[in-house]
Amino acid sequence: MSDELVKAIADMQEEEALALTKKLLDGGAEPIAILNACRAAMEIVGQRFEKNEYFIPELILAGEMLKTISAEVKPRLKQSVDGKKGAKVLLGTVQGDIHDIGKDIVSFMLDVNGFEVKDLGVDVPVAKFVEEIKTYQPAVVALSGFLTLAYTSMKETVEAIAAAGLRQQVKIMIGGGTMDQQICAYAGADAFGKDAMAAVALAKEWTGAK
């Protein structure tokens, strides 16, 4: 029956997915099995996104379903399942830019792909990134920006990370509306990703995660 749940989530059948979750839990299913079904479904969603079958509406709806199902499941969990998170990613929209939709989708896709994500939000000061790299020790830093006005902030952020002597310990990716390869080179980042799955692929490549 948890195969049905995987299918319902992956096929965007929201009502069915939530009904199945309740039914499974009431029937005594292990909460962890439900979460595993969610993970399997998200893998399918990610694959369909990569194949241009799914787009932003599907990622957003999948995220909503996951949130609702987790809220159902979490109170029944005997122990925390946060222990097996993978490599750390520090994420934020650069200084002066307050756009968050793309960043949130990247955060979500990294999270469901097993990364531990710390999201610093929007309009993140350059110094905040530097300070967080020191304390949080991420392997990857992901800079988001929607506006062309974020070009300079991207560059300043990467420069500040280098000036603090931290550049060698992190890989830096940039992404968002008006970013491209040219701005990646200009900012001194390691890579530009065009969407959330590209961010996941880069993070996996850099950290050796599967």
């Binding site: 008006t178 040219q182 200009y186």
Partner: protein, 449 residues
């Protein structure tokens, strides 16, 4: 203001457009002070008219959409742009004098901060009010229309806007939520009851704020009108674009529901969303007609947001985004107007859909950002004027030589048959002055037919 001739109702769309162009291009009543400025005005208006008519003009028109570049170049902050009209005017004059663009492009960056302060506007943040003083205004999405309010909007969009949306979007107008429907004025005995809520303290407060903001807007109109009048007088640059409207999907998705919510509505309540989109078409048309007529300008600017490649599947684009946009475009064309579509992001997957034969050839202008221009030429050439695609990233991080090559390559490969304009992919904010000069100079010299 454009005054339609007496026989307007009987005129076909084409003649209506000719009448609007003639009024826009007329020298009478325009501020051009010298014969040289008048000649420039005539040449530049004709140039853009030629491309809409899919002809070869004297040269490729230069149509970048200017954003806050002029402020950075002029050494003033985004805050100055919105609050200090004298500084704004100086920077705006300097940019136009130094760069000599073809048109006086409406500046999206120049808006009166005082008006938004007085209204306590919530939908955007602006310099000093949520963004740093050096960064221009930005939109903050929220559900200003709740998921269960589609029926209200569909039944009475203007009533919803007035009593639902506006009290939420403008904290200073929260009293408007108490206003009754204006239909309650239809008989003498009903009028006192209609007037009573307007006398209650919260509503009185809201109207006071409304009037104060209106006065500030008028003050701003005077200042910006003077600045633009001076540029027209001196340089003869025609103002472009004139009117403004949006795609119905973006009207609902940008500031009513927000991206997340409208995309869930596509799954959770598609029928309501589709009904609301259809209901929005006459509103979008009316907004474009009203603003363009008020500006005496045949062009209606339409930025496209949420239908770009990657936002949704082509099937969803055809179902949710395109039908109401297409109906809006046809409505504008029938009113004698030229939709000026500002296509943000990539539209490579959408070209086959938008090149719709039901939209008459030679009636629209499309400016693209990250779309393959060869494909654009193949699909849109001979049907609609197009332009754009000079990368904003290159204008900022590239070199003048790179920009020159890019502009030449665009002219060589897609400008040959006319119906083409040179423009940056997105609004020009951060850019190196020398790169912008390279773009302008190359277009002016190399773009001659």
């Amino acid at each position: 203001m454009f005054t339609p001739p007496a026989n307007w109702r009987d005129l076909p769309a084409r003649d209506r457009r000719e009448a609007r162009f003639a009024a826009w291009m007329a020298l009478d009543g325009k501020p051009m002070a010298t014969p040289a400025a008048q000649a420039t005005f005539t040449r530049h208006t004709q140039r853009v008219k030629d491309i809409i008519d899919l002809k070869k003009p004297d040269r490729v028109p230069l149509l970048p959409f200017m954003g806050s570049f002029f402020a950075i170049y002029g050494g003033i902050t985004a805050h100055d742009v919105m609050y200090d009209y004298a500084k704004y005017t100086q920077a705006w004059l300097k940019y136009n004098r130094d760069f000599q663009p073809d048109y006086l492009v409406f500046s999206g960056a120049f808006n009166p901060g005082k008006v938004f302060d007085l209204l306590d506007y919530k939908v955007y943040r602006w310099p000093g009010r949520g963004t740093p003083k050096t960064q221009p205004f930005q939109c903050v999405e929220a559900e200003y229309m709740r998921a269960d309010e589609y029926d209200w909007y569909i039944a009475d969009p203007e009533g919803f806007y007035m009593r639902g949306y506006m009290p939420r979007a403008f904290a200073a107008l929260s009293g408007w939520a108490m206003l009754p429907t204006v239909f309650a004025t239809m008989e003498l005995p009903m009028i006192p009851a209609f007037m009573i809520p307007a006398g209650l303290p919260p509503v009185v407060q809201s109207f006071k704020a409304f009037i104060a903001a209106a006065e500030a807007a008028l003050e701003y109109a005077g200042a910006s009108g003077q600045a633009d009048g001076q540029i027209m007088a001196e340089l003869g640059l025609p103002p472009l674009p004139g009117g403004f409207t949006k795609a119905p999907f973006d009207i609902i998705g940008d500031t009513l529901r927000g991206t997340r919510a409208i995309m869930m509505d596509m799954y959770r309540q598609p029928a309501k969303l589709l009904a609301a989109l259809e209901r929005t078409v006459p509103i979008a048309v009316q907004m474009g007609v009203g603003t363009a007529t008020g500006q005496n300008n045949p062009f209606v600017f339409i930025p496209l947001h949420k239908g770009a490649d990657g936002f949704m599947s082509n099937a969803d684009f055809k179902k949710f985004y395109w039908p109401s946009l297409k109906a809006t475009l046809i409505g504008l064309v029938n009113a004698g107007l030229v939709p000026y579509l500002f296509v943000e992001g990539g539209y490579n997957q959408r070209l086959d859909v938008i090149a719709d034969p039901e939209i008459p050839a030679g009636s629209t202008y499309w400016t693209f950002d990250k779309t393959d221009m060869q494909a654009v030429k193949r699909k849109l050439g001979g049907w609609a004027a197009f332009g754009g695609n000079v990368p904003n990233s290159m204008l900022h991080a590239g070199t003048p030589a790179q920009v020159t090559d890019y502009v030449k390559q665009l002219i060589d490969t897609v400008a040959g048959d006319g119906g083409y304009a040179m423009a940056a992919g997105a609004v020009v904010d951060e850019a190196k002055p020398e790169n912008l000069h390279a773009m302008f100079d190359t277009c002016k010299s190399y773009g001659v037919y």
